[in-house]
């Protein structure tokens, strides 16, 4: 079998318990994104697209595919937060990438395709609102969850939520609270 970053129609069909013909119809109708091979016109479906499709339609996501959707990108320049966050998230089943710089985090959004971006709002040089705004304005990030660690002393969590965050945790971070919110958002 191939490397699991693309699926054939048959594989996709088996994953959701339907006939392969049905999967092809979803593709033809534009509900499921796929591309075609030149020869016979075989379809190939990127796993991310497939998982997104399943989510959109409230269908169960197979665990072996969900791995790809348990990636969290942690943006913080604080080594303590990076270390603690990475450990906590990994223990709850996530794959974690850490970026200490926002440009790097931006490039990793495309390279690693995380399912969640965890922003450390304490980073002095960071304009978290701008980031949230950008995320919410671009369709390729529509399915990426955003979780913000509110800066110390900040009480107005509502602002973050309005700006596009899916959830907020207060600083200093309570480990259990963080893990719980991540699990909730990623449906682990």
């Amino acid at each position: 079998m191939n490397e699991l970053h693309v699926l054939t129609t048959g594989e996709a069909a088996r994953y959701c318990g339907v006939n392969f013909r049905t999967v092809i119809r979803w593709i033809e109708r534009g509900q499921l994104k796929a591309y075609k091979l030149p020869g016979r016109g075989d379809h190939r479906i990127c796993v991310e697209d497939f998982v997104g499709f399943l989510r959109d339609n409230a269908m169960p996501v197979p665990s072996e595919l969900a791995v790809a959707s348990r990636k969290v990108l942690l943006l913080t320049s604080d080594p303590a937060i990076a270390g603690a966050g990475r450990q906590a998230l990994q223990q709850s089943g996530c794959e974690v990438d850490v970026a200490g710089d926002s440009f790097i985090a931006g490039t990793l959004m495309a390279a690693c395709k995380p399912a969640m971006l965890l922003i450390d709002g304490n980073m002095s040089q960071l304009n978290s609102f701008q980031i949230l705004d950008h995320l919410r304005s671009r369709s390729e990030f529509a399915n990426v969850h955003a979780l913000v660690v509110a800066p110390s002393g900040d009480q107005e969590q509502q602002r973050w939520l309005e700006a596009g965050a899916d959830a907020v945790v207060t600083s200093p971070v309570d480990r259990n609270e963080l893990v719980a919110k991540v699990k909730l958002l990623l449906e682990i």
Copy 2:
């Protein structure tokens, strides 16, 4: 990994999620251009041919293979530089995207696939060295030129070049100098 100008059948196969035998059949059928090595008859596919093939068949093009265009991504939070830079670059035949935030710039590296990143080193909250280091350490950006506008008063251009910049212009920016260096790097 080799120099990314040519691909083997195996690499091409992995890129599009098929068996290498299939890639060979595409070549035999004349759908994909390739040449053969004398020894075993290994196929080598020029990246441009491969990308053209992918485009022709509406298949996704991996970002690290995207052909360099005349797109320039300008990273600056200074509206004056953004405006002047955009104008100067457009007049010399470039397509220009401007990002005022480094996270956004990072995401645009993948979304817009610029051939050059122009960094305003005057941005206070920017760690240009970290950005250059990241660019040079990741293969998908190997072909992206980096041009730095050195901060006012900074005389040590050498530092930037060592960090990975392809060229440096001093601040305040001389329009002609900027245009000349961009044209040189992009071979316009």
